[in-house]
C-alpha cells in the first residue's frame, strides 16, 4: 500500500488524540455519570502499559504472533482492572478530597514503582524491545494499521458508553452521582457498583496503555506523568462531562489542536518543540482547567447549565 500521502507525524499525533479520547470516554462514565473525579487516569493507563510491556518483552514466548501481544495485553488490562478494584475500594466512601488524594496518590505510586523497579522496567532509562504483533512492510504501514486498530477499540468504547447512557446501569450511575444516600435507601448497592465501575474503567485504561506502549516501542517513566490525566480531564471538561460526545469533541479541540496542529503544522522554530511547547501546553491546559472549573464547573458544551441554574435556585 502506498502511504506517501500520509505524514508520519500525523499518524502518531492522531494516535495520541484518539487514545486520549478513549481515556476521556472512560473517565466520562466515572466523572460525568457517577461524579467520581478520578485524577489517577495515568496510573491505571501506566500500570497497564508496564505490566503488558514487561510480560511481552521478558517472556520467551513459545508461540507466534499475535498471541504474545494478546496475552500480554489481557494481562496488562487485568492488572489495571485489579488495581482499579483496589483503589475503588479504598476511595468509594471518601469525599471529593479523599478521592482526589487517593487517585493522585495511586498514579504517583505507579510512577515511583516504574522508576525504582529498574530490573523489571528499566527505570528512568526506559525499556525497549516492544514491537507490533505483525509486520506488513514499512514502519509507517505498521503504525498506520495500529492507529486503525486503536480507532476500532475506541469506537467500541464509544459505543459502549452510548449504551450505558440509555441503560438502567447509566441511570443508576447518575443516581449515585446525584444523591448516593438516596440511591442506597432505594435498595442500590452503591459501594459495590462504584468499585466495579472503577475496575472496568481501569481495565479499559490499561488496555489503551498497552496499545500506546506498542506504538512507542519503548516504555519510559517520562510518559507516565500527570499530563496524560490532565489531557483527558481537560478535554472532557471542555467538551462537557455530561454528554457522550463531550469527551470526543473536547479532546479533539484541546489535544488535537496542540498535538496535531501546533506540533506538526505550525511553522515554529525547531528548538521550541523540546523546550517551550510542552511547557506552554501544560500551562494552557492548566489554565483552561482552572477557568472552566471556576466559571463552568460542570462543562463548557455540556447540558449542565440547567443543573447549575437548578442548584442556584435550590441554594445547594
Amino acid at each position: 500500500m502506498n502511504l506517501d500521502w500520509l505524514d508520519a507525524f500525523l499518524v502518531s499525533g492522531l494516535f495520541f488524540v484518539v487514545m486520549i479520547i478513549g481515556l476521556a470516554l472512560l473517565l466520562h462514565i466515572q466523572l460525568g455519570l457517577a461524579r467520581i473525579a478520578n485524577f489517577g487516569v495515568v496510573g491505571f493507563w501506566g500500570i497497564g502499559m508496564y505490566s503488558f510491556g514487561v510480560l511481552f518483552v521478558k517472556v520467551d514466548w513459545p508461540f507466534g504472533d499475535p498471541w504474545p501481544f494478546l496475552i500480554s495485553a489481557a494481562f496488562g488490562s487485568v492488572v489495571a482492572g485489579l488495581s482499579g478494584l483496589l483503589v475503588g475500594w479504598l476511595i468509594a466512601d471518601l469525599d471529593e478530597d479523599g478521592v482526589l488524594v487517593g487517585t493522585l496518590g495511586f498514579a504517583t505510586a505507579v510512577w515511583i514503582l516504574a522508576t525504582t523497579e529498574q530490573d523489571l522496567t528499566g527505570g528512568a532509562l526506559g525499556m525497549g524491545g516492544l514491537r507490533f504483533p505483525y509486520d506488513i512492510g514499512t514502519v509507517k504501514a505498521n503504525e498506520t494499521l495500529w492507529l486503525v486498530l486503536l480507532i476500532i477499540v475506541v469506537a467500541l468504547i464509544l459505543y459502549y458508553v452510548h449504551r450505558v447512557h440509555r441503560a438502567p446501569y447509566g441511570r443508576l450511575l447518575t443516581a449515585i452521582g446525584d444523591n448516593e444516600p438516596l440511591a442506597r435507601s432505594l435498595g442500590k448497592a452503591t459501594f459495590r457498583t462504584k468499585i466495579w465501575l472503577f475496575a472496568f474503567a481501569s481495565a479499559g485504561m490499561g488496555l489503551l496503555g498497552a496499545m500506546y506502549g506498542v506504538m512507542e516501542r519503548f516504555l519510559e517513566t517520562a510518559n507516565i506523568g500527570i499530563d496524560i490525566t490532565l489531557a483527558a480531564i481537560v478535554g472532557l471538561i471542555l467538551g462537557g462531562t455530561a454528554r457522550v460526545w463531550g469527551a470526543v469533541i473536547g479532546v479533539a479541540i484541546s489535544v488535537g489542536v496542540f498535538d496535531i496542529l501546533v506540533q506538526s503544522y505550525l511553522p515554529l522554530p525547531r528548538d521550541w518543540y523540546s523546550q517551550a511547547i510542552p511547557v506552554l501546553r501544560e500551562a494552557i491546559f492548566g489554565a483552561v482547567l482552572i477557568i472552566v472549573l471556576l466559571f463552568r464547573p460542570l462543562g463548557v458544551l455540556g447540558d449542565m447549565r440547567r443543573d447549575k441554574l437548578m442548584r442556584s435556585m435550590h441554594g445547594d
Binding site: R171, T174, N179, A183, L186, G187, T190, M310
Partner: protein, 238 residues
C-alpha cells in the same frame, strides 16, 4: 402505652444512634404494626435521625431492629429496601438530574410485579406525575418533588413506608391532598406507615398511634385519639 394493632411489622429494641459519637436517639423501644404510626417532636428531637436509622442509612450504636420477625440490625440499606422498607427522606428526595419517569423507574426494581403495572398505580395515586413524566426532577416545585419521592417509594411495593415530614413547607391545599394520599396508601394498599411530622394536628387526623420524641427519647407512645394537648405540649417542651 397502647397496643400495637395486628402483628408488629417493625420492632425496635433499645435502639441508639447518632453521628460521629453524638448520640441522638437514646434508647427507643417501640413496635409498628399495620397502621399509621406518627412520630412527633420539636425541631431537633431526632425524627429524621430515627427514620434514617430505621432505613439503615445510619448505623446503630446499640439495640436491635426487627422487621417481620427478622433481625435487620446489621443489614445494609440496599438489603432492607429489598425486604420492603420504603423511605422518603425529608430533604433531597429526588434525583435532580433524572427525569420524573427515570426517578420512578430507578426505584421500581424490587419484587415480581411488572414496572408498568406499578407505574399505572402510581399515576393513579398522583395523577400530576403523569403529565410531568419528561421533566427533569431538579426543576420541579417543592410539592411536585415530594410527589415524585413518594411515588418512587411506592414503585418499590413497600410493606412499610417511612415518610419524613412529607408536607413541610407545602401550601395548605397540597398538605391536605398529601395527607389524603397517606390514608389512601395505608387503607387501600395495606402499607404500614411511619410518619415523622411537625404538624401534630394533621398527623393526629391520620395516625392510629403517636410517639412523641423529646431529645431522642420517647416521651410517650399513645393511641392518637387518647393524646391530650397537655401531653403534646409537654413533649414539645412548650
Amino acid at each position: 402505652m397502647s397496643e400495637t394493632p395486628g402483628t408488629p411489622m417493625l420492632k425496635a429494641e433499645a435502639i441508639r444512634s447518632g453521628y460521629h459519637g453524638v448520640t441522638v436517639i437514646k434508647g427507643l423501644d417501640f413496635e409498628v404494626g399495620n397502621e399509621v404510626f406518627a412520630v412527633l417532636g420539636a425541631n431537633g428531637a431526632g425524627k429524621t435521625t430515627l427514620l434514617a436509622t430505621l432505613a439503615r442509612l445510619i448505623p446503630l450504636m446499640g439495640g436491635r431492629i426487627q422487621f417481620r420477625g427478622e433481625d435487620v440490625s446489621d443489614l445494609p440499606p440496599y438489603e432492607t429496601a429489598g425486604r420492603g422498607i420504603g423511605y422518603v427522606p425529608q430533604e433531597k428526595g429526588v434525583f435532580a438530574e433524572l427525569t420524573v419517569l427515570e426517578n420512578l423507574t430507578v426505584g421500581g426494581m424490587i419484587g415480581e410485579r411488572s414496572q408498568d403495572e406499578r407505574m399505572a398505580e402510581v399515576f393513579e395515586l398522583f395523577p400530576d406525575l403523569e403529565t410531568l413524566q419528561t421533566q427533569t426532577a431538579g426543576t420541579l416545585s417543592g410539592g411536585e418533588s415530594r410527589m415524585v419521592a413518594a411515588g418512587r417509594a411506592m414503585m418499590q411495593d413497600p410493606i412499610l413506608l417511612l415518610l419524613d415530614e412529607p408536607t413541610a413547607g407545602l401550601s395548605p391545599l397540597y398538605v391536605d391532598m398529601f395527607f389524603e394520599k397517606i390514608t389512601e396508601i395505608h387503607e387501600t394498599r395495606g402499607v404500614g406507615i411511619v410518619l415523622a411530622e411537625q404538624n401534630a394536628t394533621k398527623a393526629l387526623e391520620v395516625a392510629d398511634r403517636v410517639m412523641v420524641l423529646s431529645l431522642g427519647e420517647a416521651f410517650l407512645i399513645e393511641a392518637a385519639t387518647e393524646l391530650t394537648t397537655k401531653q403534646l405540649k409537654e413533649g414539645y417542651r412548650i
